[in-house]
């Protein structure tokens, strides 16, 4: 077994929205190994995104501990979290979040310019099969292509973890499969630990582990002995 990259212990997150307390995470324990592909499944409000946000340094936990390698994320301030995101984390979102005024190449370069040991933007785009489209602006790309640019942008800085919040949520099945393919190929070539939130249960077959969420806790963990290739996916 390879080293543990994330270790969560008794992690809780409570929001106060107005006078209502929302318990998004209720004492969650989790270990994630380096290079693993983890799929997070579960209904809305079950805590998947909250966990991913805290792991990505976008949010603070209310209590408990979360270690990234030797770094205790739960104790970092905003400035340190920014540095953490900059060095170690790549994000992929449901709605791509590309900068419309930059071409595909430039969207990737936006991140490589501030990274420490990035790959070349061309290489990152080649990894997701978009080397031909790198001079296009987002408005000239299809949804799937835009998402692949977003993946290229996320992995170009060679992050240790790739956090994907519903990366295929806005895509049809063919395009969605290509996006998953891209994610898996990055995982295979770079060994990036990949965590994918999805509502699409059929994606779970490509993962090493599947975490089922309910009420701010992990209700079940399923381990795939063999991962299916993305080409075999249907939805």
């Amino acid at each position: 077994m390879s080293e543990t990259i994330f270790a969560a212990r008794a992690l809780t997150k409570t929001y106060t929205s107005g006078e209502v307390e929302v318990h998004a995470l209720r004492g969650l324990d989790l270990d994630v190994s380096a290079g693993e592909v983890v799929v997070l499944l579960g209904p809305s409000g079950s805590g998947k995104s909250t966990l991913l946000n805290i792991m990505g340094g976008l949010d603070h936990a209310t209590s408990g501990r979360l270690l990234f390698k030797n770094i205790e994320l739960t104790t970092l301030n905003d400035r340190e979290l920014t540095a953490y995101r900059r060095r170690h984390v790549g994000f992929v979102f449901q709605f791509y979040n590309l900068i419309p005024s930059l071409t595909a190449y430039e969207n990737v370069a936006l991140v490589t310019e501030i990274a420490e040991r990035p790959m070349k933007p061309d290489d990152a785009l080649a990894l997701v099969g978009l080397e031909e489209r790198m001079d296009h602006f987002p408005a000239q790309l299809s949804g799937g292509e835009q998402q692949r640019v977003a993946i290229a942008r996320a992995i170009a800085k060679r992050p240790e973890v790739l956090l994907c919040d519903e990366p295929t949520g806005a895509l049809d099945s063919t395009t969605g499969i290509r996006v998953i393919e891209a994610l898996l190929s990055v995982n295979a070539q770079l060994g990036t630990t990949t965590m994918i939130i999805t509502h699409n249960a059929s994606i779970q077959d490509v993962a090493d582990r599947v975490l089922f969420f309910a009420d701010g806790q992990i209700s079940k963990i399923h381990k795939n002995e063999t991962r299916r290739a993305s080409a075999e996916l249907t939805w």
């Binding site: 920014t82 540095a83 979040n97 930059l102 430039e106 370069a109 501030i114």
Partner: protein, 787 residues
């Protein structure tokens, strides 16, 4: 309350910072209009009422000695409503504990009843007892300058005899609102006073029993001033009359008119610029603000609200914003207007002030601001409301950006991605970027207009006091003297050099245009008081022909080589034709100059002198003052150093007050402009910026990306702002140029720097305010929503 109205109030609360900034921009525009036009109207009406109540005359004339029997003949001139004949004499004063010689304009008061015209407004004390030989009333400015109260004493040299005088009253007169002593350009209340005393006493002092030396006329409403003046001149001619003149040539009225004209011109030039700039800015800002509401508009449509209801909802929103601005601006403008009216009212010593209400101003300012705001909103609403709800609810499709350069040229590696983003944003919204730049440029421009007067005044001081009139003192005589007086003056203690001059009052005419001016005869080789031409070089007085103020040449429509007709108003009173030899660079009044000997020949008289310019050893000034105070032939002594001080003081009042008010308003507009641009950009690009934060960009880096565009636009706007500012200053200068005073337009580099500095500081301050917003960007929420 309908739910939409509740939404409106909540939106206002949510956007309070921006709402306030927009309101302040509107307020700035409205305030300038209300304050400038309001204060001018108030002062104008105050003056009119003052003139009316105290019987300010229309026509003025001075004679050597005319019998009182002439008064009834004057009264019979058609068009004359009232006649006030009196004794008016200039005399030297000796004031205890005051080193310098002062001059007094003595005016007789009838021993029975009040003067028919130019009645006094008593501030303190009483009128002199009829026939009293010592009691006098003095004007308030003079009394204040010496802290005189009733009972104070000073002495005067009346017709060569020293008399002790006692102040029994302090008064104001519509005839002497603005008072300048002999040889002075600016009022100096310490060295010049108006002194009223019993007619009987003055008549016996000057041997004018049963006679008068000055006559003022009030005309009927439809009388022709020109006809009356002509007939009066005929009547007075035999008695040594100097040509009569109207209000236009009466010093006090002319200066007051000039000052009010200046205020009026300021109110016509600056406020429209301010108001238009602010209207333009709110139009731009509100249209962007409404465009941001696209999704909400789509939702409202989906829920079944009609287009008109929705449009009206947003129009109400901007109306509320504009109304807040108009109210703040009106209150601020009214308050500043009252402040300025008071300031000038005190400066002119008006006995009372009338604050005019100007509902038309408020209406005009409100209408323009509201229209600009509503049109801005409608511009945005028209596009959004037209969309089907389903489309409107979704954000607009990603805008199609274009490469800056053809595909062959790569800018990779030349610029960082944030700079590429900035450049593409600017080129993608060229109109918006252009307008934002124009807004900043206008802000810089109005600052330059608010500030340039100082440079211009320094240039005026430089030319007037250090190039042209470089003498230390000017001594003027009551009657013209023979040239022997030069030697006499040269022997006075402390006098280093003496230069005589001869002044002859004339009417100068070209075609139908006529002006009353003095021809000043200058000796060859004069070094103290010099003639400066348009290239700012000293020139010798022409031996034939006249050197005239460039303004006089302009008014008469002549240039060097042309001929003018000149009525000599002294001596034989001939009319001659003279060529214009040169144009002179001067800034005060209309003047004509020629060689002193040539002037003597023209007057067919021996060489005579009206006054002398002196260069003085400053260590021996006290001895000189003492000597002058005892010279019965002297009417006054003007001191350049004191004149310069007074000029600076008077100009400072106008300039520092007006400039600081306008500068603050311009700064408010600049701040509102930049703040709104930054805030709206932040809303428009919130998602993009939050993404950058997620990728690990620090707050500072994101802030730089957001503000880079504004910084570039702000900087790029500056040169344009300088050009606009210079043009506006030129318009102001041209509007302000008058026969009494004018300036040469000078805008120092420092002024450009200050104007840009204020705008850029406003930009930086608003950036700091916006930084707080960036720090609060909700990363998670922003990413959950669709683009």
């Amino acid at each position: 309350m309908p739910v939409l109205d509740i939404k409106l109030l909540r939106d206002l609360r949510r956007l309070w910072g921006q709402a306030l900034a927009i309101s302040l921009v509107i307020a700035g525009g409205v305030a300038t209009l209300v304050l400038a036009v309001g204060s001018h109207r108030s002062l104008d009406q105050t003056r009119a009422a003052y003139y009316e109540r105290y019987g300010f005359a229309d026509v003025f004339a001075v004679v050597r000695r005319a019998p009182k029997t002439l008064v009834s003949q004057i009264a019979e001139i058609p068009g004359v409503a009232a006649v006030d004949a009196r004794i008016a004499k200039l005399a030297l004063l000796d004031i205890p504990n005051f080193r310098e010689p002062a001059s007094g304009q003595f005016i007789s008061l009838p021993d029975i009843g009040e003067p028919a015209l130019d009645r006094l407004h008593m501030r303190v004390g009483r009128m002199p007892e009829p026939g009293s030989s010592t009691e006098v009333v003095v004007n308030e400015n003079f009394a204040n300058a010496h802290a005189f109260v009733p009972g104070a004493r000073f002495s005067a040299l009346l017709n060569g005899r020293k008399r002790e005088l006692e102040i029994v009253g302090i008064a104001l007169s519509p005839e002497f609102i603005y008072t300048t002593g002999p040889g002075d350009i600016m009022p100096d209340d310490r060295r010049f006073g108006v002194i009223w005393m019993s007619e009987k006493t003055l008549a016996s002092a000057y041997d004018l029993d049963g006679a008068f030396s000055s006559v003022n006329l009030k005309l009927l409403r439809d009388a022709s001033e020109r006809d009356v003046v002509q007939r009066l001149d005929v009547l007075l001619d035999r008695h040594g009359g100097r040509a009569a003149y109207g209000r236009k040539d009466q010093t006090s009225h002319a200066w007051l008119d000039h000052e009010l004209d200046m205020l009026n011109n300021m109110s016509r030039t600056l406020p429209p610029i301010f108001l238009l700039v602010s209207a333009f800015l709110i139009n731009l800002t509100l249209s962007r603000l409404v465009a941001l509401e696209r999704e909400q508009i789509g939702l409202l449509k989906a829920l079944g609200y009609g287009n008109i209801t929705i449009a009206w909802h947003y129009i109400k929103f901007v109306i509320v914003l504009a109304t807040i601005g108009v109210v703040i601006g009106s209150v601020m403008g009214t308050w500043l207007g009252i402040h300025i009216t008071r300031l000038f009212g005190d400066f002119f010593h008006f006995p009372f002030l009338i604050f005019t209400k100007s509902p038309d101003l408020y209406a005009a300012a409100a209408a323009l601001s509201l229209a600009a705001a509503v049109i801005g909103a409608i511009r945005a609403l028209r596009d959004v409301v037209a969309l089907p709800p389903a489309v409107a609810m979704q954000p607009p499709a990603p805008p199609r950006f274009h490469r800056l350069l053809p595909t062959g040229f790569s800018i990779h590696g030349v610029f960082s991605q944030p700079i590429v983003m900035m450049l593409r944003n600017i080129t993608h919204h060229p109109i918006r970027a252009g307008f934002t730049m124009l807004g900043m440029a206008l802000a810089t421009g109005i600052l330059i207009v608010s500030l340039f007067t100082r440079d211009t005044m320094e240039q005026l001081i430089d030319v007037t006091f250090f190039m042209a009139d470089r003498q230390d003192a000017t001594v003027s005589f009551i009657e013209r003297r023979s040239r022997d007086v030069i030697m006499q003056m040269a022997r006075l203690p402390g006098v280093l050099a003496v230069e005589p001059y001869r002044e002859v009052p004339v009417r100068i005419r070209h075609g139908s245009i006529e002006r009353r001016v003095m021809i000043s005869g200058r000796p060859q080789g004069a070094d103290l008081s010099r003639i400066i031409d348009a290239d700012l070089r000293a020139v010798v007085p022409p031996e034939t022909g006249l050197a005239v103020s460039a303004m006089l040449a302009h008014v008469l429509g002549v240039q060097a080589g042309d001929f003018v007709e000149v009525d000599l108003l002294e001596g034989q009173r001939r009319t001659v034709t003279l060529p214009i030899a040169a144009e002179v660079e001067d800034y005060f009044g209309l003047r004509a100059m020629m060689d002193a000997d040539a002037l003597s020949r023209l007057m067919r008289e021996g060489p005579t002198v009206s006054g002398v310019n002196l260069s003085v050893d400053s260590n021996r000034l006290d001895f000189l003052y003492k000597a002058i105070k005892n010279m019965p032939t002297v009417s006054g002594m003007a001191l350049q150093r004191v004149s310069l001080g007074n000029f600076r003081e008077n100009v400072a009042l106008l300039i520092t007050t007006m400039a600081s008010i306008y500068t603050s308003l311009a700064a408010v507009i600049a701040f509102g402009m930049v703040y709104n641009s930054a805030r709206i950009s932040l809303s428009e690009r919130a998602r993009e910026l939050a993404s950058l934060r997620v990728f690990g960009f620090s707050q500072g880096e994101v802030m730089r990306i957001l503000l880079l565009e504004l910084a570039v636009l702000s900087l790029a706007a500056q040169p344009l702002g300088w050009v606009i500012g210079y043009r506006l200053a030129w318009i102001m200068k041209t509007n302000l140029a008058g026969e009494l005073m004018r300036v040469r337009l000078v805008v120092e580099p420092f002024t450009y720097a200050i104007a840009s500095g204020v705008v850029l500081t406003a930009a930086i301050l608003s950036a700091l305010v916006v930084r707080e917003r960036i720090n609060k960007l909700d990363l998670v929420a922003v990413l959950k929503t669709r683009d």
